[in-house]
Amino acid sequence: MNGWILAATVVLAVGLGTTLWGVATGPLGRRVVAQNLSTALVCPGLLLLSQGYSRTAYVDLALLLALLGPVGTLVFVRLLADELGDNPPQAWGPTWVAAGVGTVVVAVLCAVTGPGRAMVKLLVIGALLVGGNLLASRALSGGFPGVSRD
């Protein structure tokens, strides 16, 4: 077992453990937050695994998750707007932690990969991941003025 896989194991165990607990219990708002965090934490884990198995082909998985994870959260935000409207969930602490983990992992992997096409791909994944999750989190907490909830 190399260090990358060990790091991935830790990130995935902590990430999946806490988000599973968050999504299975508690009020609806917290569950949607946990669903959003699950994609934000699993994506760095997948990047670390790709490095650990030294297969660049596995990076496509992280790319897809960074693209579609926030889309899934926006689906819930849109279709659960009535239930979430009264009591929008605020979870900036965990959101910033997840964004930080994503940024650190992408930065470290970029440093290891060195300049080239692979690094551009990593940067795109990082931007999509962090941007998408911060946006989904903000949409979730009702942080946008002038939103009519149909």
Partner: protein, 119 residues
Amino acid sequence: MTAVMHVLPYLVAAYVFLVGAYGLATSRNLIHAVGCLAVCQSATYVLLLAVGYRDGGTAPVFSDIRPGSRPVVDPVVQALTLTDIVVGATVTALLLALTVQIAKRHGTVDPDELRELRG
């Protein structure tokens, strides 16, 4: 540890299947039942891929490694699983369409109430 590891994935697949079947049998909402069926389906994916795994193997995709340089896992079970995931999603959609139709015609999605309706 190794003795447990030799059967753990198979046991998890069996457990996931049984949990899904239990949910399917005791469900009081047809949409929830369709979700439980999706859980049962995922048990088959876990079982198939566990059968095809090889210790120290890597994916049988040779775009970034030289063929023969590393041992690879079984591609046949992977091909079976990956088509079934997408086709399974459309079958889930068909079942959800049936549920929507039942809700329209009978006004309920509780299987027990539906049984009473029939007489």
